[in-house]
């Protein structure tokens, strides 16, 4: 790959700077407004009742008791639920899943809404919900991966991944002189953004205005509009800040639709905010998987085959099958590659995309299998990966748009001090006698783009307003996108007013797939470029401008002035150009998406290498991650401070995946027994020490106009395997199930 830009995008002084986040001041002073912070006049509070069985029917609700409670204003059940125009089983937009909105008395999983209570106060609605005291006709619940037959997945787009096969898989197995056949399991995980799902809904005639945390404002407008039979333009969403999303906040969910329906029915604004316990139900999760990996190598330790079969748990009534096995595509240069998916239908809520969907679970298994294969080959795991380094995309032979993975391996290993690592396990102890181990994993993440639009308005004073309905769920859109916009206009950051987080703005697309900065940023970049192009035309045609007659010469914009390219003596200020033209403002529009033919030409991925150190108590088997180094190559980094924070956050999610997170069902009731933060563990500060991120320079002229690959998810990808492999290196035990628990090691 060329390591220079074919057509370098000129960037000014804003992008690439570790600018402190612009939303920081609102967030540290408590003035950043999240959905549930809105309380319009005359508000009603909504609380829904979650089913406490996992399969069956609701046979009785004590509606009279709830209605009699002071302050309760309405009890909504399947018996009296007002009509919805849309079909709850339809999928009006991309990523949609089937929702429960009291369409009947059936229960499909524990935690499903079975009634909604409205009250003048939150306390009244909560107590009313408690008084409903449901009775059920329950059927046996299927909640474990072996509780029902697995079936192959019928490929069909989102949620129904197709299998992939390259090369002669049977021949690959046959050619192997050494082989492994291992099965890894991953647990159900729930997104649990710190801000639970919420909505504040207000109707005015057939116009709906919503405060709702959304990772895709315009798409969500269309989704809500569908259920209420109104045009999408009638729905307005305000979502300046999201308290985390992680994939769970892109689409309308049942509870939110019910609250909106209640607002319509009562003619009053309604607020609903899920409790933490309710986050373990109707708002998606990462489905459990069981993955079988068969790897083979020849005498030179070259992979002859990677054969990856994934079995994923999904709901009984909808399709989202974790595309875990596809994590084996695109990474190692195996002679043959196969990914296959099967699903088992259980009485659980429908899973959905959760930070690094597919890759996180799939890579956890793949990277452990690679470690086991390296062990069988008797060579260092890093050396093993280098021997199987793919110079072009395995199977397809497509070139990578850029790939600095080798540099990630080298810089990460150097920083970590990998070279002294003993090959065999149980060789290292620290001064306190703790078993010490080092492990590594490779990280890979695709670079999808969605579609986005943006508008830039240059004002007569030379400042600019840039607008797109971009989403900040914590990643730093308010800052990074403003930096891109400022550069596209040749303005200092403080001359740019950036508006986002509102659906009336040009469509900012989807904050997901690690593609938001590239997509919304691309649209902003194009909009700024459109302004500069028009400005150039005006100036070139203006006899009084120093740029007059510059004709087809390219212009560049810097510090509020337009220059003839390569001739700094000829320039004119934005404000003067506009003033002479008698224009109060100049508007430019831009959009960004990826042409399908570009997607065909190149394999586009971010890459990384993660190295981990763990210490394990030899008697108690308590595991602590004591050090991690992640080196990532993700194209252009717009804001190093924000990018590092994203990558660190991802690595901490890796720790969480490897050691903490697991939703556990009671097989008798089908309920999740640890559906709160007391029982569902995520890392606290004390679990996180010694993390370090390196970003490896990468110029990518093909991935998109800005060369951005995205950093939101890749941090988790190699980290899980690195930790599990370090645990093996410390203890000699392969625990093939996540999270790795003390009891697994005690009984290993």
């Amino acid at each position: 790959m060329p390591d220079t830009l074919a057509h370098p995008v000129r960037f000014g002084s804003n992008a690439g700077q570790p600018v402190t986040r612009r939303d920081g001041i609102a967030k540290v002073t408590g003035t950043a407004t999240f959905t549930a912070d809105n309380s319009p006049e005359n508000l009603l509070h909504a609380v829904y009742v979650p089913a406490t069985i996992a399969r069956g029917r609701v046979t009785h609700l004590d509606v009279a008791a709830a209605e009699a409670h002071p302050g309760v204003t309405m009890v909504m059940t399947p018996g009296n639920r007002p009509a919805l125009q849309g079909d709850p089983s339809a999928k009006p937009t991309m990523f949609s899943f089937r929702i429960e909105v009291l369409q009947d008395d059936s229960v499909r999983y524990a935690g499903q809404p079975i009634a909604l209570v409205l009250g003048e106060t939150l306390e009244a609605a909560t107590e009313g919900a408690r008084l409903l005291n449901p009775r059920y006709a329950a059927e046996p619940a299927r909640t474990r991966i072996d509780d029902d037959e697995a079936a192959p997945v019928e490929p069909g787009g989102f949620g129904r991944p197709a299998g992939v096969e390259h090369g002669d898989v049977a021949a690959g197995h046959a050619a192997a002189t050494k082989a492994i056949d291992v099965t890894y399991e991953t647990s159900a995980q729930y997104h649990n953004a710190m801000e639970t799902h919420a909505v504040v809904a207000q109707w005015e005639g057939d116009k709906l205005s919503l405060d709702v945390p959304s990772q895709a404002l315009l798409m969500s407008c269309a989704g809500y509009a569908y259920f209420f039979g109104i045009p999408a333009e009638n729905v307005t969403i305000r979502a300046p800040y999201l308290g985390g999303g992680f994939g769970s906040k892109a689409i309308p969910t049942g509870p939110q639709v019910l609250a909106i329906l209640a607002a319509k029915e009562t003619g009053r604004p309604v607020k609903l905010m899920l409790t933490r316990q309710q986050m373990f139900g109707p708002v998606g999760h990462r489905g459990a998987t069981r993955q079988r990996l068969r790897l083979g190598i020849d005498d030179g330790a070259a992979l002859t085959v990677i054969d990856h079969e994934g079995l994923a748990a999904t709901s009984s009534f909808d399709d989202f099958v974790e595309p875990a096995a596809n994590a084996s595509q695109g990474l190692y240069a195996a002679g043959a590659l196969r990914s296959a998916h099967r699903a088992v239908r259980l009485d659980v809520g429908t899973p959905g995309p959760m930070r690094a969907p597919g890759e996180a679970s799939g890579s956890a298994a793949l990277e452990c299998a690679m470690d086991e294969m390296a062990e069988a080959a008797g060579i260092d795991p890093l050396e093993f990966r280098l021997r199987n380094y793919a110079e072009t995309e395995p199977g397809t032979g497509k070139p990578y748009s850029s790939k600095a993975l080798r540099e990630c391996y080298m810089q990460g290993a150097e920083r970590f001090g990998w070279s002294g690592r003993p090959l065999l396990p149980r060789q290292m102890k620290d001064e306190n006698g703790l078993l010490t181990g080092w492990g590594m994993g490779t990280a890979l993440f695709p670079c999808p783009m969605f579609a986005a639009d943006a508008r830039a308005t240059l004002r007569s004073d030379g400042s600019a307003l840039v607008e797109t309905s971009a989403i900040d769920m914590g990643q730093g859109a308010w800052t990074a996108l403003a930096q891109i916009a400022a550069d596209s206009l040749g303005l200092p950051l403080d001359m740019v007013e950036f508006r986002a987080g509102h659906s009336s703005l040009p469509d900012g697309g989807v904050a997901g797939g690690s593609g938001h900065t590239a997509t919304a940023g691309g649209a902003l970049h194009a909009a700024g470029g459109d302004v500069i192009r028009q400005l150039g035309e005006i100036a070139a045609a203006d006899p009084e401008s120093p740029l007059h007659g510059a004709g087809n010469a390219a212009f560049s914009a810097r510090d509020g002035r337009l220059y003839v390219d390569g001739d700094d003596s000829r320039s004119d200020s934005f404000a003067d150009i506009l003033a002479r033209a008698g224009s109060a403002e100049l508007v430019g529009n831009g959009s960004a998406s990826r042409a399908p033919e570009d997607a065909e030409k190149f394999s586009m991925h971010s890459h990384g290498a993660v190295f981990a150190e763990v210490k394990v108590d030899p008697d108690l088997c308590q595991v602590r991650v004591t050090r991690m180094v992640g080196a990532f190559a993700a194209g252009r980094i717009i804001n190093p401070k924000l990018a590092e924070s994203q990558l660190l956050g991802g690595m901490i999610w890796g720790i969480s995946f490897a050691l903490h997170e697991e939703a556990k069902h009671d097989p008798r009731t089908g309920r999740i027994v640890n559906a709160d933060f007391a029982g569902y563990h995520v890392p606290v500060n004390a679990d996180v020490t010694g993390l370090e991120v390196l970003t490896v320079h990468e110029d990518d002229p093909y991935v998109n106009a800005l060369g951005i690959k995205g950093v939101g998810e890749i941090g988790i990808v190699g980290s899980v395997g690195a930790i599990a492999n370090a645990i093996w290196h410390a203890t000699g035990h392969r625990i093939r199930r996540f999270p790795i628990r003390i009891e697994d090691l005690l009984t290993a």
Binding site: I25, G30, A32, E123, N192, M194, M273, G474, W653
Partner: protein, 158 residues
């Protein structure tokens, strides 16, 4: 639910209120006083998003009833500092990137005030241990520790 007369000081201002006995302090602050900087994250005392100071000590407002606050003095994130007059911790959380989505931030700030009051010069392990009652899902842990360390180093610990 019968009302109780309540007299307390919130962010330096005297507040008189009539609250039902089952109203949580977190809801009282957010709904009755419109101090929405204090967040709800779990209502079971685990996540720390609702942390406030009561008579200078950190308290999880989701585990306290408003009626218990008669005669007490409460500080929420809104009372910690404001634009133009930020508390040193607020400044450092911003500069060191101790936040992403910011939902956990008010709670972490209040816990950090309490931590530095008890231990003006904590080492990193003490900072991490001291923040074990607060969750950040995003997670900005590294930046949070950096922010508290630099606040302490600048002598703003006490």
């Amino acid at each position: 639910m019968s009302g109780h007369k309540l007299s307390l000081v919130v962010n330096g201002e005297r507040v008189e209120a009539d609250v039902p006995s089952n109203r949580l302090l977190s809801e009282f602050l957010r709904d009755d006083l419109a101090l929405t900087g204090t967040k709800r994250g779990c209502e079971t005392g685990v996540c720390g998003a609702c942390s406030v100071l009561v008579d200078g000590d950190v308290v999880k407002s989701c585990l306290s009833l408003a009626v218990q606050m008669n005669g007490r003095e409460i500080t929420t994130v809104e009372g910690l500092g404001r634009v133009g007059a930020l508390h040193p911790l607020q400044q450092q959380f911003m500069e060191k990137g101790g936040l992403q989505c910011g939902y956990c931030t008010p709670g972490f700030l209040m816990a950090a005030v309490d931590l530095l009051k008890r231990n003006p010069n904590p080492d990193d392990a003490e900072i991490r241990e001291g923040l074990s009652g607060n969750l950040c899902r995003c997670t900005g842990y590294q930046g949070i520790v950096d922010a508290i360390r630099s606040t302490a180093e600048a002598g703003h610990g006490a």
